[in-house]
Symmetry: C2
Subunit: 817 residues, 2 copies
């Protein structure tokens, strides 16, 4: 399992991973443009880059019988040893082997090896003969209605269960934090004598604090590092990649969910600078994937329900709903949740899907409301904690002249956010290079936790910010070095979860903090959050980002008021909110959903939407000038082949001819089992064009009539679905035969050698997808990109004017420059 | 102009329009399914359905020089006289004419004639040589940035101007209504002596009322009927169709906007049962189309700006933003506006587009807020009238046991809504058949207005519903037959605009009405609104629908309270809101945006989202069981070829072969000008496959290498872009040459006869779109539908396995059963 790269690059094998990635597809010298569309003729120059793989290191492909992550392993098959031997000649014995056809003249498609080898999801529905048969059987109104109803039931379940998990995490964190900080405060009060203002003994509470931080953090980090490294970080980049169509191994497992839940609880309770929101979104995605499939690989349990939904297409739709439900549960923001899913994920827009997503979000918020209201002893649905950043009681007002100020704050947010992203990326690069050991990663988390506690203690010790009790906003004010009837404002900021601190900054009455306090706090938290995100713990980045923004936003209001005491418009909570929006915009760059989430979680009026948007837009535009949002940065750093919304500008003038990979390994419509076996054994491509009208042995010059997936071919070989014995299997074979093995297809190694069936043939007509998307070699890349993305493709065949194959284009061809 | 069919079918020529539409594409007897994909061979059986059109009635194509609606006329060219002569043989002279090739063997593509002939928009970008040249010239970062900035500026302008128009309509309606109802009240008080409770003389006020209703309504109806019939109704079905990709003639003209604005003002002031919301959405769309094009056909003015945005693709995106801005301005609901656009329109999801749409919506709401706040003399942005259904001051609460009640109300709403839709469709069918004359349509509107006034007067006269003054919710209470210190609750309901009545029903304190009053009011308004929608006036259906729902929702609460006086949960405003949601869900079926709009316009808490959604879902599902939403019904009744989200169930088992139209009129890559001229002259197709490798004269058996649009061919002929004289035009010709004539392409009639250029040839290589979307004949219809819709296509070429044309599929092929 160790050789699987995680998005956050936690694994120790990747010490040299940050070397510059070799450009994948060299733009081949294209023929000079002519006005007349030149017809691609058949004599594609045979490239001299054939790779001999007769002695393939197939040992690494041997399935580990105890490992339930077989396909995940397969996903990460190291590429051929011949990677650097691109100029090697084809050994003659290999030539004989493969029915006299060199099947490995593949040029560019195997040259991508230095990056982790993420596979794509099969979002495209394979409408083969079997699928059509099933459709015909189920063409009745009743079946389609039933499937629709079941789909609704699943979405409702997703909403409920996601909310329950979110509630549990919420309540546990709240209770444990309460215990922790109560204990610390008691300890402070015990050790600092109330009468001695010159400085008491803070060492004992400090040590307690360290202990109560280090233990949970170490536990959480160890869980994440040793049990499921994919759970590190917020999970949003992973979910985003998954929804974009990249197969991230083990991202939607129940084990992942369990580790993530424990990880986030321990980290937040441990006092790291992070929030629980991101992990909740990931949790929603796992719940969605789990429920919709009706089976669990972790528990090796198949409930034999929802079988019709077992394909990547349906699963991805459910995960979209799950992510939305997670956001909704995290923020109490159903519309924000739906928009988050849309903004970050859905490339294929469908009214029904969005509608179901919205319902899942609303159900999720309702369930959350129900449980939390009950938990807090309220019996109508009025638990305002659902606005988890605190509801503004008074409608926020603003004046015309404040709009430029908001814009200025937005620009500040953009600059700070871009700097934060850049700093964080540097820290993570450093981390990846110099802390490769697992134990080191755990230690690092512990060190950061201790560092945070120390800074906090130092601040509390040295800054003497005492405020009168009475209009105190904290539940448990600490007196510390203050007079009676006063509380320590610095301790109030630190002695709670980050989320509660955001609430304080939004809603504390004016004059709750010194300027110095807040300045120090902003700087410390900025650095701390930057060091924290990227640790091997489960934590989201939303809350610390909002916290930093709220701090400097409030600070701005305080400084301005200090300089111009006659000003009246400076509601500090309002500026804290704008600051939070600006900082979030600068770091995350998710403008649509962020604005709605902020609106929903703080209950501001529609009229205050405009200032929020001004701050967000300014922050996003300024930030975009320097770098990408933090999620996209993480995705890029880890070389996940995620498809952007628009083709990269470098691709603007190119045509398909210049990015395609060729020649392509093809299979004949009716081909020998032996050939197929050899092909599968010797290359790890996932899609093979099916050709017809083949002259001689040159399959790649046949006419395209379909595409067949690796997984399908393996099932065909495993189940011996040959022409010669078709009377045995034909009656029982249906699309379900293929669906049963989803999503962990066996590897080719699990197919026995075909000694006795060496002359058997396979007729692919009923198995292949007869409607692959084909484009012409002279089609422009922006255009085919649009098709590729809109249809969620995995393979796109490039044909010439005679419908003969000219190349193949996959997701990866659109990514690297 | 009269022969143009409007969506609401106002024109008098269509008296026989509601005859059953002949099934368009007979499902051809497909070959028996075989396991092997059968390769389409070249010998397509020549259909015996060639149509001779030598003596085409091209007289109808003669351009009317005074008419600025030339392309619109062309769009509605009646089909060939040979429609019913499908079995006629090809006259030999025609065969000679067209270079010995029968160009009119077209079978199914001309058989669709009995419906209005809507054309599609060219949402697909034609990436021809000229386009690529432009791209290359503008490949610089700077150009793309500049275009992006201009796009933003346009979206911001759209938001501002739409809001200004909405404000003007709003304020004018408010002021005029105020004047009207004040005058009527004075008249009532003058004519009904305060001391005589037995019945005063209501005749004079009644006559005044009639007069003040009839005059504006007659004026508005006359404007709509005689000047711009497309402005009738709410405009939402038209905008929806446009965004779906159907070219609705004259839908986005400035003249249309002017008539619509005056029409809606007169109708609402006249007291018809309608709202101003739908027309505002239409207004937003017009503004967007107008601004983005930088020129106006109505004023024959070209500002020579925004030239890069002059194509259907860009224009449609702007119209999407305009629609959203319109919704936002109408309801003060920016998120609702964006979601409305998404739900009703966007088939191609794009993050940037949505983001711009949201910004336009927010700008629009902000502008509205600004203007209305200033108008009402407030100087911070606190004009609560922006919640145009009135803000609920107290958070609405609900108990668990109310959820089934909400569901029950939802079901009621679904039933009432379905009945309303069905009744309204019947009334409109009747109207279309029996009131074909223009003057009749105006009279009808007047009669309905009088009918409404009479009913209202009767109610006021006969129902004696007096309430004590003091907690009166109306601004100008009418005493009428009541005691001193009392006001007449019936008159209060009627003496205001429908919108204000919705507000009253939501927010009046409990006990403001008698049960009898509200029952009568509900029934009267239900019938009245049903009779009104479909009149030849500009009016939306949202407000009357919400009003009816609010009335019966409030009635439900009152009746329940009457039966069980001990119940406490029955806040009448809450039930009015749920009733309005249920009724809207039942009539409109737009669940996502409706729920958000209702939330935003009434300012309810997120926790009340759940009851709203329960009511909406129940209403939608129950309603969907019976019929479609009112907008879709209107679209269907008018045979607008709008693409649904999913393919029709009838298409589930079919393949492309069974719906395609063939043979197709093709043009050679280098063809004679004479042939092209003849083709354009004799058929009205809009897309012609460009073929190559033609053996002999049979163009339709060549290999497909592109597609060229009718409009492009006409420009080529008009500008004489021939191979033989290329040295004259080649240096100056660019994509701008073609863009200049957008959107009203000249007809073929404007091309002079090619006598001297009879032997000239056209090389289409640089003009045609070299990347048409091609599918195979055996591809399943659901699949190609997905491609067609996701890419917003107009033509889809069906090819065989050798890349020779097998047929063509257009929007219409997916519509009729």
């Amino acid at each position: 399992m160790d050789d699987v790269k995680t998005l956050i690059s936690l694994d120790e094998e990747t010490t040299d991973d940050d070397e510059p990635v070799a450009p994948k597809v060299a733009v081949k010298s294209s023929p000079p443009p002519t006005a007349v569309v030149d017809i691609l003729n058949d004599d594609i120059p045979t490239p001299s880059t054939g790779v001999g793989v007769g002695n393939n290191n197939s040992g690494t492909l041997m399935p580990d019988k105890d490992d339930d992550d077989l396909p995940a392993l397969l996903d990460h098959t190291p590429s051929y040893s011949g990677n650097s031997a691109l100029n090697g000649n084809l050994p003659p014995n290999d030539r004989d082997n493969a029915e006299s056809e060199p099947i490995f003249r593949v040029r560019s498609r195997t040259a991508v090896a230095s990056t982790p080898n993420y596979e794509s999801l099969d979002y495209e529905v394979c409408e083969n003969k079997l699928f059509q048969d099933e459709q015909k059987k189920r063409l009745t109104e009743r079946f389609s209605l039933r499937k629709d109803i079941i789909r609704w039931i699943i979405f409702i379940q997703i909403g409920i269960i996601t909310a329950l998990i979110a509630c549990s995490i919420d309540i546990i964190i709240e209770e444990l934090s309460e215990l922790k900080y109560m204990f610390l405060m008691t300890s402070v009060e015990k050790n600092v004598p109330q009468t001695d203002f010159t400085g008491g003994d803070l060492v004992v509470p400090f040590l307690y604090w360290i202990l109560l931080s280090v233990v949970p953090v170490a536990f959480g980090a160890a869980m994440v590092t040793y049990i499921e490294p994919i759970t590190a970080g917020s999970g949003i980049p992973q979910v985003k990649s998954y929804l974009n169509g990249v197969k991230i191994p083990r991202i939607v497992r129940i084990k992942t969910l369990a580790v993530k839940a424990i990880g986030v609880i321990t980290s937040v309770v441990g006092g790291l600078a992070g929030g629980k929101e991101g992990p909740m979104i990931h949790a929603g995605a796992v719940v969605a994937a789990g429920i919709s499939q009706g089976k669990s690989t972790t528990f090796v349990k198949d409930f034999h329900v929802f079988k019709a939904f077992r394909d990547d297409h349906e699963k991805r739709d459910f995960v979209l709903g799950g992510g939305a439900a997670g956001v909704s549960a995290a923020f109490g923001a159903p519309i924000g949740g739906m928009l988050f899913s849309l903004e970050e994920a859905a490339s294929f827009w469908n009214q029904n899907l969005i509608w179901r997503t919205l319902v899942a979000s609303i159900i999720s918020v309702f369930t959350l409301n129900l449980v939390l209201s009950t938990y807090h002893g309220l019996n109508d649905f009025t638990f305002t904690g659902l606005f988890n950043l605190g509801k503004f009681d008074q409608p926020l007002k603003f004046d015309y002249f404040e709009l430029p100020i908001f814009m200025l704050l937005g620009i500040t947010g953009g600059l700070l956010g871009a700097a934060w992203n850049s700093l964080n990326t540097k820290i993570n690069g450093f981390r990846k290079r110099y802390i490769p050991w697992k134990i080191g990663k755990v230690c690092e988390a512990v060190v950061v936790a201790m560092f945070g506690v120390t800074l906090a203690c130092t601040m509390i010790y040295f800054i003497n910010d005492c405020r009168p009790l009475g209009n105190d906003p904290t539940i448990h004010p600490v007196q510390l070095f203050c007079e009676d009837n006063e509380y320590n404002a610095v301790a109030a900021l630190w002695f709670q979860t980050p989320e509660a601190t955001v609430r304080s900054l939004f809603h504390d009455p004016p004059g709750s903090h010194k300027i110095l306090t807040l300045t120090m706090f902003t700087i410390v938290y900025y650095v701390l959050s930057c060091a924290t995100f990227g640790l091997n713990v489960s934590l989201g980045v939303f809350i610390p980002t909002a916290l930093v923004g709220a701090a400097w936003g409030r600070l701005f209001a305080m400084v301005t008021y200090y300089l111009f005491p006659e000003t009246e418009f400076l509601h500090p909570g309002k500026y804290a909110l704008i600051g939070a929006a600006a900082n979030l915009g600068g770091v995350l760059r998710m403008t649509i959903s962020l604005s709605v989430i902020l609106m929903e979680t703080t209950g501001v009026e529609t009229s205050f939407f405009f200032p929020l948007i001004i701050a967000l837009i300014s922050a996003k535009w300024v930030g975009d000038y320097f770098n990408e949002g933090i999620y996209d940065t993480q995705i890029e750093v880890n070389h996940v082949p995620i498809l952007p919304w628009e083709p990269l500008p470098q691709y603007k003038g190119l045509t398909a001819r210049e990015i395609l990979s060729s020649p392509v390994v093809c299979i004949k419509l009716r081909d020998s089992a032996h050939y197929i076996y050899n092909v599968l054994k010797k290359c790890d491509h996932n899609g093979f064009p099916v050709v017809d009208d083949v002259q001689g042995v040159h399959r790649s010059q046949g006419r395209v009539c379909g595409i067949v997936l690796r997984s399908q071919l393996i099932v065909i070989l495993l189940k011996s679905l040959y022409v010669e014995n078709s009377r045995f299997w034909l009656p029982d074979t249906s699309i379900q035969t293929f669906r049963d093995v989803y999503p962990r297809y066996p590897s080719i190694e699990s197919v026995r050698k075909l000694d006795d069936k060496i002359n058997y043939t396979v007729d692919l007509a009923m198995f292949m997808n007869p409607s692959p998307v084909r484009v012409n070699a002279h089609d422009s890349v922006p255009r085919i990109f649009q098709v590729f993305r809109a249809l969620g493709l995995r393979h796109m065949l490039v044909i010439n004017n005679e419908n003969r194959i000219a190349g193949i284009i996959t997701r990866r061809d659109f990514i690297y420059k």
